[in-house]
């Protein structure tokens, strides 16, 4: 009888805890870590060595906590809060006249996820701007890009610089923090 009991307890324990060993920490996506499924968000590491946008001396580092950076950039024209489809917290978009910055939350802290230029008044730290030409891009960033139709993407230390070219002219410049992919 005791053996039988032990066997049952063993089976119960084995089945219950079987999942422990193979469970990995998922990479967080743009929505906050849910409390529902005991998923633990991996720590976000700022991409200091990746592509960095510099605006009036403020370094906008992808993956960095947003609060100080946003404060340094000055008052945005508007802030848009995008609700997560189910969980508490918001992706936020800080809209400035010449660019906008998107953030994502993890554990009540917002991190920089995307920077997008809105016009030709701003330049990348390396000097590229909307309205420049394909050859300007390759002169600055080289030929090591991935190309999907008109989108040229450079990768560097966990960041992407995506440049959309239409008829030889740059029409969009966007920085991405790659952990979100």
């Amino acid at each position: 009888m005791k053996k039988c009991l032990l066997l049952l307890i063993y089976i119960f324990a084995a089945v219950t805890f079987a999942a422990c060993e193979k469970k990995e920490t998922p990479v967080p996506d743009a929505s906050p870590a849910p409390t529902t499924a005991a998923i633990t968000a991996a720590p976000v590491i700022p991409a200091e060595d990746g592509f960095v946008y510099v605006h009036n001396g403020v370094r906008v580092v992808l993956g960095a906590p947003a609060a100080d950076i946003i404060a340094g950039l000055g008052e945005p024209r508007s802030v848009r809060e995008e609700p997560s489809c189910a969980f508490d917290g918001f992706d936020r978009t800080y809209i400035y006249t010449d660019f906008y910055v998107e953030t994502f939350p993890i554990d009540d802290i917002d991190y920089i996820s995307i920077i997008n230029f809105r016009n030709d008044n701003v330049r990348t730290a390396e000097g590229l701007y909307i309205g420049a030409y394909t050859e300007d891009m390759t002169a600055v960033y080289g030929e090591s890009y991935n190309r999907e139709q008109g989108m040229y993407t450079y990768e560097k230390s966990g960041t992407q610089l995506a440049i959309l070219i239409d008829d030889g002219v740059i029409v969009q410049i966007t920085y991405y923090f790659m952990i979100l992919d």
Binding site: M1, C4, L5, L8, I9, F12, V15, T16, F17, A18, A19, C20, K22, K23, E24, P26, D29, S31, P34, T35, T36, A37, A38, I39, R77, S78, R80, E81, E82, P83, C85, A86, F87, D88, T93, I95, Y100, N116, E148, Q149, G150, M151, L164, V171, Q172, T174
Partner: protein, 352 residues
């Protein structure tokens, strides 16, 4: 005697197993209410003329209560947070195990997503499905490589570590949980106007082609509906965000045209529908508030009745009695939410 003891032991073990499973499962009562949506369907009556399927564009933007009140249409929304198109397909298949509606309305917003968006959304959409071959197929089609398929059928395999974070809800709702939705509609009051002055169009994309896998599942949904004699309608809710590209819309419209389906892009019909973006959204254009959802229901219900021979069930005493009770609960929550907004600016009544 020995046999009885063993049987007793197995029964006791099974009891504790089930009890532990029930205790450790998230209750979705104080947060992430969307986790209740899939499960709630099974306790509804199964005689709906219209079934809506889709992500939050479905379960937050149209009011079945208003469809009933205005047109006598019986409807249910099988929606879910970040419901992907393969989730939608299998929830459709699941629904058709219980009933055969006249019309299925599929939200097309999720057609842009060809990849899973995270385990949490698989859980929210699929965990509540009743066990069936459909659920097995749904889980197999959805799980991420790091997920344990079996845990969708034995949730304790996933949640056994939750004992460390058990809270009052886990005990209060151990036996019985409240409803979060009104025939699948999640009600939200409050107003946050759309800021059109600082509207940002979507970033330009390298490739606007909607993913192949989405077309495959849309084909399957269309074929399943055709097989059952159900009219499939495609719809885009009139939400301003997330951005809906013209190129995507053209692809959906072409598909609908090719297969003789009705496609309604409510974004283009917002004025005609009477939608006022300064008062009808509670979060600046992402979702509609209850007044917005009712406005959409009145307009879209008209399109449905114009195009399909949907019965007005208000003359059926039995159905009318059921909906009378539904309307009571709906109106009570709406009044409570509006009172809370007026008094505190925040909604507290999200279950009933």
């Amino acid at each position: 005697m020995k046999f009885v003891k063993i049987a007793l032991l197995i029964l006791i073990t099974a009891f504790f197993f089930v009890a532990a499973d029930r205790l450790l499962m998230p209750k979705y009562m104080s947060q992430s209410h969307e986790g209740r949506l899939t499960r709630e369907y099974y306790s509804s009556e199964k005689n709906h003329s219209v079934i809506f399927i889709g992500d939050c564009e479905a379960h937050e933007n149209i009011s079945p209560a208003e469809l009933w009140r205005t047109y006598g249409i019986t409807s249910y929304i099988r929606g879910g947070a970040q419901q992907l198109i393969w989730h939608s397909y299998y929830l459709l298949e699941d629904t058709l195990r219980y009933e055969t509606p006249d019309v299925v309305v599929l939200s097309v917003m999720a057609m842009q997503y060809g990849e899973p968006r995270g385990e949490e959304y698989n859980r929210l959409n699929l965990e509540g499905m009743r066990f069936s071959p459909t659920k097995i197929r749904a889980v197999r089609a959805s799980v991420l490589p790091e997920e344990d398929t079996l845990s969708y059928f034995l949730p304790i395999l996933r949640y056994h570590e939750r004992w460390k974070e058990l809270n009052r809800d886990d005990f209060n709702y151990f036996f019985r949980r409240k409803n979060v939705a009104h025939n699948g509609y999640m009600m939200r009051s409050g107003v946050m106007a759309v800021d059109f002055e600082n509207f940002i169009p979507g970033r330009r994309l390298a490739d606007y082609s909607l993913p192949d896998i989405c077309w495959e599942y849309l084909d399957k949904a269309r074929e399943l509906c055709a097989e059952k004699g159900i009219e499939l309608v495609l719809v885009k809710a009139p939400t301003i965000y997330p951005y809906w590209y013209r190129e995507w819309d053209d692809q959906i419209a072409a598909y609908a045209d090719r297969h003789g389906l009705l496609y309604v892009n409510l974004l283009e019909l917002a004025d005609e529908a009477g939608i006022d973006y300064s008062i009808h959204s509670y979060n600046a254009g992402f979702h509609f508030n209850v007044q917005g959802a009712e406005t959409i229901a009145r307009f879209f219900g008209g399109i449905l009745t114009d195009n399909f021979n949907l019965p007005d069930m208000r003359g059926d005493d039995q159905t009318a009695a059921v909906w009378e009770r539904k309307l009571e609960a709906y109106d009570a929550m709406k009044a409570a939410q509006e009172r809370e907004i007026a008094e505190t600016g925040r909604i507290r009544t999200l279950t009933y």
